[in-house]
Protein backbone atom coordinates (compact mmCIF):
# COMPACT_ATOMS: atom_id res chain seq x y z
CA UNK A 1 0.00 0.00 0.00
CA UNK A 2 1.32 3.43 -0.81
CA UNK A 3 2.27 5.73 1.99
CA UNK A 4 -0.53 8.12 2.81
CA UNK A 5 0.00 11.73 3.76
CA UNK A 6 -2.93 13.75 4.97
CA UNK A 7 -1.18 16.95 6.02
CA UNK A 8 0.26 19.54 3.65
CA UNK A 9 1.81 22.99 3.83
CA UNK A 10 0.63 23.81 0.31
CA UNK A 11 -2.70 24.96 -1.08
CA UNK A 12 -4.95 21.93 -1.50
CA UNK A 13 -5.70 20.75 -5.02
CA UNK A 14 -9.33 19.66 -4.85
CA UNK A 15 -9.21 17.96 -8.25
CA UNK A 16 -6.25 15.83 -7.20
CA UNK A 17 -8.29 14.35 -4.35
CA UNK A 18 -11.26 13.76 -6.61
CA UNK A 19 -9.04 11.97 -9.12
CA UNK A 20 -7.68 9.85 -6.28
CA UNK A 21 -11.08 8.47 -5.31
CA UNK A 22 -13.24 8.35 -8.44
CA UNK A 23 -13.74 5.00 -10.15
CA UNK A 24 -15.86 4.25 -13.20
CA UNK A 25 -18.24 2.34 -10.92
CA UNK A 26 -18.95 5.45 -8.83
CA UNK A 27 -22.17 7.35 -9.32
CA UNK A 28 -21.69 9.80 -6.48
CA UNK A 29 -19.00 12.18 -5.30
CA UNK A 30 -19.33 14.13 -2.05
CA UNK A 31 -16.71 16.77 -1.36
CA UNK A 32 -16.43 18.68 1.89
CA UNK A 33 -14.25 21.74 1.91
CA UNK A 34 -13.50 23.74 5.05
CA UNK A 35 -12.88 27.41 4.28
CA UNK A 36 -11.50 30.25 6.39
CA UNK A 37 -14.33 32.68 7.09
CA UNK A 38 -14.03 36.30 8.09
CA UNK A 39 -15.70 35.95 11.48
CA UNK A 40 -15.92 33.61 14.44
CA UNK A 41 -18.22 33.97 17.45
CA UNK A 42 -18.86 37.62 16.73
CA UNK A 43 -15.23 38.51 16.14
CA UNK A 44 -13.63 39.55 12.90
CA UNK A 45 -11.03 37.10 11.54
CA UNK A 46 -8.24 37.97 9.11
CA UNK A 47 -6.16 34.81 9.11
CA UNK A 48 -5.78 31.48 10.84
CA UNK A 49 -2.58 29.63 11.59
CA UNK A 50 -2.89 25.86 11.76
CA UNK A 51 -0.33 23.74 13.59
CA UNK A 52 -0.30 20.00 14.28
CA UNK A 53 1.39 17.28 16.24
CA UNK A 54 2.22 15.96 12.82
CA UNK A 55 3.02 12.26 13.27
CA UNK A 56 0.12 11.77 15.66
CA UNK A 57 -2.27 13.75 13.46
CA UNK A 58 -1.30 11.63 10.44
CA UNK A 59 -2.00 8.48 12.46
CA UNK A 60 -5.31 9.76 13.80
CA UNK A 61 -6.60 10.79 10.39
CA UNK A 62 -5.42 7.44 9.01
CA UNK A 63 -7.38 5.69 11.75
CA UNK A 64 -10.52 7.67 10.92
CA UNK A 65 -10.17 6.89 7.21
CA UNK A 66 -9.56 3.19 7.91
CA UNK A 67 -12.54 2.96 10.26
CA UNK A 68 -14.78 4.60 7.68
CA UNK A 69 -13.43 2.26 5.02
CA UNK A 70 -14.59 -0.69 7.11
CA UNK A 71 -17.94 0.88 7.83
CA UNK A 72 -18.54 1.91 4.21
CA UNK A 73 -16.74 -0.68 2.06
CA UNK A 74 -18.07 0.91 -1.16
CA UNK A 75 -16.72 4.36 -0.37
CA UNK A 76 -13.31 5.69 -1.31
CA UNK A 77 -12.04 8.55 0.82
CA UNK A 78 -9.28 11.11 0.34
CA UNK A 79 -8.37 13.70 2.97
CA UNK A 80 -5.99 16.63 2.89
CA UNK A 81 -5.57 19.11 5.76
CA UNK A 82 -3.51 22.22 5.24
CA UNK A 83 -1.18 23.66 7.90
CA UNK A 84 0.45 27.08 8.20
CA UNK A 85 -0.97 30.56 7.74
CA UNK A 86 -4.26 30.70 5.83
CA UNK A 87 -6.25 33.76 4.83
CA UNK A 88 -9.98 34.29 4.50
CA UNK A 89 -11.34 32.33 1.54
CA UNK A 90 -8.59 29.70 1.54
CA UNK A 91 -9.37 26.05 2.21
CA UNK A 92 -8.05 24.35 5.32
CA UNK A 93 -9.36 20.89 4.54
CA UNK A 94 -10.77 18.95 1.63
CA UNK A 95 -12.43 15.56 1.97
CA UNK A 96 -13.54 13.68 -1.13
CA UNK A 97 -15.75 10.59 -0.87
CA UNK A 98 -16.85 8.60 -3.89
CA UNK A 99 -19.33 5.74 -3.91
CA UNK A 100 -21.68 3.92 -6.27
CA UNK A 101 -24.60 5.72 -4.60
CA UNK A 102 -24.99 9.08 -2.89
CA UNK A 103 -26.12 8.16 0.62
CA UNK A 104 -22.91 6.39 1.60
CA UNK A 105 -20.79 9.15 0.04
CA UNK A 106 -22.63 11.87 1.98
CA UNK A 107 -22.56 9.94 5.23
CA UNK A 108 -18.89 9.00 5.06
CA UNK A 109 -17.94 12.58 4.21
CA UNK A 110 -19.89 13.93 7.17
CA UNK A 111 -18.44 11.38 9.56
CA UNK A 112 -14.92 12.06 8.31
CA UNK A 113 -15.02 15.79 9.02
CA UNK A 114 -16.79 15.28 12.36
CA UNK A 115 -14.20 12.72 13.45
CA UNK A 116 -11.30 14.90 12.38
CA UNK A 117 -12.65 17.89 14.28
CA UNK A 118 -13.09 15.80 17.39
CA UNK A 119 -9.82 13.95 17.91
CA UNK A 120 -7.00 14.95 15.58
CA UNK A 121 -4.26 17.02 17.28
CA UNK A 122 -4.47 20.09 15.07
CA UNK A 123 -4.87 23.60 16.46
CA UNK A 124 -5.69 26.98 15.05
CA UNK A 125 -4.76 30.48 16.08
CA UNK A 126 -7.16 33.12 14.83
CA UNK A 127 -5.86 36.59 14.12
CA UNK A 128 -8.08 39.63 13.72
CA UNK A 129 -8.23 43.32 14.61
CA UNK A 130 -8.80 42.37 18.27
CA UNK A 131 -5.63 40.31 18.50
CA UNK A 132 -4.94 36.60 18.31
CA UNK A 133 -6.31 33.59 20.11
CA UNK A 134 -5.86 29.82 20.17
CA UNK A 135 -9.34 28.55 19.49
CA UNK A 136 -10.90 26.48 22.27
CA UNK A 137 -8.39 27.19 25.02
CA UNK A 138 -10.26 29.86 26.97
CA UNK A 139 -13.50 27.94 26.57
CA UNK A 140 -11.90 24.87 28.13
CA UNK A 141 -11.01 26.72 31.35
CA UNK A 142 -12.68 24.61 34.04
CA UNK A 143 -14.43 27.54 35.70
CA UNK A 144 -16.26 28.26 32.45
CA UNK A 145 -17.60 24.70 32.13
CA UNK A 146 -20.81 25.53 33.95
CA UNK A 147 -21.48 28.49 31.73
CA UNK A 148 -21.09 26.33 28.65
CA UNK A 149 -23.30 23.41 29.64
Amino acid sequence: MRLRTFLTDEAIDRQELIDEVMRRSDGALAVFEGVIRNHDQGKSVESIEYVAYKPMAEKQIGQIVDDLGKRFPDVRIAVRHRLGLLRVGESSIVIACSAPHRSAAFEACRMAIDGIKETVPIWKKETGPDGEEWVGWQGSRPSSDQALH
Binding site: V51, M56, K117, P121, I122, W123, W134, V135, W137, R141
Partner: protein, 81 residues
Protein backbone atom coordinates in the same frame (compact mmCIF):
# COMPACT_ATOMS: atom_id res chain seq x y z
CA UNK B 1 13.34 7.86 33.86
CA UNK B 2 13.91 10.38 31.07
CA UNK B 3 10.87 11.54 29.14
CA UNK B 4 10.57 13.81 26.11
CA UNK B 5 7.92 16.44 26.66
CA UNK B 6 6.30 18.15 23.66
CA UNK B 7 4.33 21.41 23.65
CA UNK B 8 1.96 22.57 20.95
CA UNK B 9 -0.16 25.60 20.21
CA UNK B 10 -1.18 27.55 23.32
CA UNK B 11 0.99 25.38 25.56
CA UNK B 12 4.00 26.05 23.38
CA UNK B 13 3.37 29.79 23.75
CA UNK B 14 2.95 29.54 27.51
CA UNK B 15 5.98 27.35 28.14
CA UNK B 16 8.11 29.15 25.57
CA UNK B 17 9.44 26.13 23.70
CA UNK B 18 8.31 23.18 21.66
CA UNK B 19 10.05 20.37 23.46
CA UNK B 20 12.20 19.50 26.42
CA UNK B 21 13.61 16.46 28.16
CA UNK B 22 12.78 15.86 31.79
CA UNK B 23 14.02 13.34 34.30
CA UNK B 24 11.35 12.05 36.67
CA UNK B 25 11.29 9.37 39.38
CA UNK B 26 10.08 5.89 38.42
CA UNK B 27 6.33 5.66 38.87
CA UNK B 28 5.68 9.26 37.80
CA UNK B 29 2.34 9.69 36.07
CA UNK B 30 1.54 12.04 33.20
CA UNK B 31 -0.75 13.96 35.55
CA UNK B 32 2.19 14.54 37.91
CA UNK B 33 4.06 16.27 35.09
CA UNK B 34 0.99 18.41 34.41
CA UNK B 35 0.80 19.40 38.08
CA UNK B 36 4.41 20.47 37.95
CA UNK B 37 3.78 22.57 34.82
CA UNK B 38 0.82 24.25 36.51
CA UNK B 39 2.98 25.14 39.47
CA UNK B 40 5.49 26.86 37.19
CA UNK B 41 3.12 28.68 34.81
CA UNK B 42 0.37 30.84 36.27
CA UNK B 43 -1.56 30.76 32.97
CA UNK B 44 -2.25 27.09 33.75
CA UNK B 45 -3.36 27.53 37.35
CA UNK B 46 -7.06 27.17 36.55
CA UNK B 47 -6.51 24.03 34.49
CA UNK B 48 -6.49 21.60 37.39
CA UNK B 49 -6.92 18.55 35.21
CA UNK B 50 -4.62 18.14 32.23
CA UNK B 51 -5.99 18.58 28.73
CA UNK B 52 -5.99 15.37 26.72
CA UNK B 53 -2.80 13.41 27.25
CA UNK B 54 -0.81 11.57 24.59
CA UNK B 55 2.09 9.17 25.11
CA UNK B 56 4.04 8.00 22.08
CA UNK B 57 1.47 9.52 19.70
CA UNK B 58 -1.59 7.86 21.22
CA UNK B 59 -4.18 9.21 23.62
CA UNK B 60 -3.87 7.78 27.14
CA UNK B 61 -5.45 8.32 30.54
CA UNK B 62 -3.77 11.12 32.50
CA UNK B 63 -2.78 8.72 35.30
CA UNK B 64 -0.62 6.66 32.91
CA UNK B 65 2.77 5.84 34.42
CA UNK B 66 5.66 7.10 32.30
CA UNK B 67 8.44 4.84 31.01
CA UNK B 68 12.00 5.54 29.96
CA UNK B 69 12.07 7.24 26.54
CA UNK B 70 8.36 8.02 26.40
CA UNK B 71 7.22 11.00 24.36
CA UNK B 72 4.62 12.86 26.38
CA UNK B 73 2.38 15.59 24.98
CA UNK B 74 -0.51 17.43 26.56
CA UNK B 75 -3.11 18.11 23.89
CA UNK B 76 -5.01 21.39 24.27
CA UNK B 77 -8.54 21.43 22.82
CA UNK B 78 -8.15 20.43 19.18
CA UNK B 79 -9.48 22.70 16.44
CA UNK B 80 -8.74 21.02 13.13
CA UNK B 81 -10.93 21.06 10.08
Amino acid sequence: VVVKLLFFAVLRDIVGRGETSIEVPAGTRASDVWRDLRARHTELTDYVRPPLTAVNESYVEPDTVLSQGDELAFIPPVAGG
